[in-house]
């Protein structure tokens, strides 16, 4: 794949390379003394073969990765690995592409890293996503079984993503629901931060083993803490200074976005420290709450995006979705009415029966 970049236009300058290596080292939570080791690993001529699969998704993960600028994370990643198959980037198409995939699997059986982007349809035999006549399910089972490990990039590959949102018409799931016997590293996000993808690959190259992961398979160095616990607006939260409405005085002053639905308190990710777009920005810094994109089922659980508790489906009702608050208040009202009727009945009874002296 680096042949694509051999024209030199996209080649990294040494300075940018070191910068990126340092950022990746920091993202992994390693001390600065480790930069040399990381750099050495990155410079090793032995590049691991990677097969990059696309399933049900918007390709936003790849796009956002390619649209970073300096230092160019995408170039670095693509230079680190020997990319054998990537539908968005490769020149081949049609039968030639299929041929490439087959050859790559044969050549690097058991050695290559499989990167998956996108959810996998499972309903009706997975017919809702087909590439070259094979379902995504078949492709993943086939390629995944030959891989050494799997990196699921983005919330779709990790947890099913938007296609898995209720009512999930295609039965979309994440990689971990299909492949059970391979190490799977989830790098969720919509899209995930390019540096977290880079750091995950660099970690594997440097230490020759996958990073420590949490219960959902997410690298702890990136997903070990909640957004809220290292957010720059946290001081305003603790002070009790909140944005009441977008555009109000508090919003202009940069107060905490809790009351307009920020999901930072329930979302594990390193966005406040790692940030995006090389400009050191992230949603909360730009004045919008976190929507919890790194969490499983976030399309179902994190909505409404501008309120901080989700609607609750009344189980027996026909799809009545109410705010927990409204249901709670209704229950309180009903209880109060019940008590009032009961008390009235009691009062009538007391009044109509003569009490004997005891």
């Amino acid at each position: 794949m680096s042949r694509l970049f051999a024209n030199g236009l996209l080649k990294l300058r040494r300075r940018d390379f070191l910068k990126a290596a340092t950022i990746a080292t920091a993202a992994m939570g390693l001390p600065v003394t480790m930069v040399d080791k990381v750099t050495a690993a990155l410079e090793s001529p032995k590049r691991p073969p990677v097969i990059w699969l696309h399933f049900m998704e918007c390709t936003g993960c790849t796009e956002s990765l390619l649209r970073t600028s300096h230092p160019d994370v995408a170039t670095l990643i693509l230079d680190l690995v020997s990319l054998e198959y990537h539908e968005t980037l490769m020149a081949a198409a049609g039968h030639q592409a299929e041929e490439n995939l087959k050859r790559a699997i044969e050549k690097y059986r058991g050695e290559f890293i499989c990167v998956v982007e996108g959810g996998i349809s499972t309903k009706d035999g997975g017919i809702y996503c087909k590439i070259g006549g094979r379902t995504a399910l078949e492709i993943l089972q086939h390629v995944g079984s030959e891989a050494s490990s799997i990196i699921a990039i983005g919330t779709c590959a990790a947890f099913g993503g938007v296609q898995a949102a209720a009512p999930n018409p295609t039965g979309a799931v994440g990689v971990r629901d299909i492949i059970k016997d391979k190490p799977i590293i989830n790098v969720p996000g919509c899209p995930p931060n390019g540096y977290n993808i880079l750091a995950t690959i660099v970690y594997i190259l440097t230490f020759k083993r996958p990073p420590d992961v949490d219960a959902l398979g997410r690298p702890k160095f990136a997903y070990g803490r909640r957004i809220h616990d290292h957010c720059e607006r946290r001081a305003h939260f603790d002070e009790g200074r909140f944005v009441e409405q977008f555009g109000d005085e508090g919003h202009k002053k940069g107060y905490c976005l809790y009351k307009v639905g920020c999901k930072g308190p329930v979302t594990y990710a390193n966005c406040p420290t790692q940030r995006f777009c090389d400009a050191g920005v992230w949603p909360v810094a730009a004045g919008h709450g976190c929507i919890g994109c790194t969490e499983p089922n976030f399309w179902d659980q994190m909505i409404p995006f501008y309120e901080h508790v989700p609607g609750v489906e009344v189980p027996s009702g026909q799809g009545i979705v109410g705010k927990a608050e409204r249901i709670g208040k209704f229950a309180i009202g009903a209880a109060a009415a019940g008590i009032a009727i009961h008390a009235a009945a009691g009062a009538i009874k007391k009044a109509t029966t003569k009490e004997k002296e005891e």
Binding site: D238, E239, E244, K263, T267, I327, I332, G346
Partner: protein, 216 residues
């Protein structure tokens, strides 16, 4: 003429449990609702800081620990308490309690006479057991949100709630169920005090109830 005996029902420990539980719940209600929906704005920039949210959260956590301590105490008493405090006394599955359960329901519907059983009637006892179980869920979801980064509570919380958001939703939803419970509880306690002869309200202060002399 009915004669009454004053019988000791609730041990000191049970009364400590009851009042710690009740007061902690009161504090948790108020602080919890503030955390859910911070109604009063803290100081605007420039005015002296008071860290309102941080303080309210601190009080909430403190009250939460009292709540958990009370809960543990009640679980101890469910097994090792006196005969009125043990769960075996009031679970409705016990053959003795099935007629009592119907009797209690009839009494509440004004269709029968109020009867005293010493400890909890089986209806109340069942509800209390459910509340205790609900309290465990409340405590676990709270601890999961308080200790999100690994360790016992994070893994226990994860295995039950999966995401922090679900823990938060449970925590919030149970808040409303508690409110309904507290309303019914207070009402029925007063009702029992009026329609029954036990002296139920003073009982939770003194530990003693009035039971008909022929019984017990």
């Amino acid at each position: 003429m009915v004669l009454y005996r004053r019988v000791k029902i609730w041990s000191v420990l049970l009364r400590i449990f009851h009042w710690t539980f009740a007061l902690s719940i009161l504090v948790l209600f108020v602080t919890g609702y503030y955390i859910h929906n911070p109604f009063a704005l803290g100081p605007w920039e420039g005015s002296p800081t008071n860290f309102l949210m941080a303080k309210v959260r601190y009080v909430h956590f403190l009250a939460g620990y009292f709540f958990i301590a009370a809960l543990l105490l009640r679980f101890y008493l469910l097994i090792f308490g006196n005969r009125y405090e043990r769960f075996t006394d009031f679970i409705f599955l016990r053959p003795r309690n099935i007629p009592r359960l119907f009797h209690t329901i009839k009494a509440y519907l004004y269709l029968g006479k109020h009867e005293s059983y010493g400890g909890h009637n089986p209806l109340a006892g069942t509800i209390y057991l459910l509340v205790l179980l609900m309290s465990v869920a409340m405590a676990l979801s709270g601890l999961y949100m308080l200790y999100p980064e690994g360790g016992l509570w994070a893994s226990a919380g994860f295995s039950i709630f999966k995401t922090q958001q679900m823990a938060r939703l449970f925590h919030y939803f149970l808040f409303w169920i508690y409110l309904v419970f507290v309303m019914f509880h207070l009402y029925l306690v007063v009702w029992n005090d009026i329609f029954g002869d036990e002296g139920l309200i003073s009982g939770i202060f003194s530990g003693r109830k009035f039971l008909p002399a022929k019984k017990g």
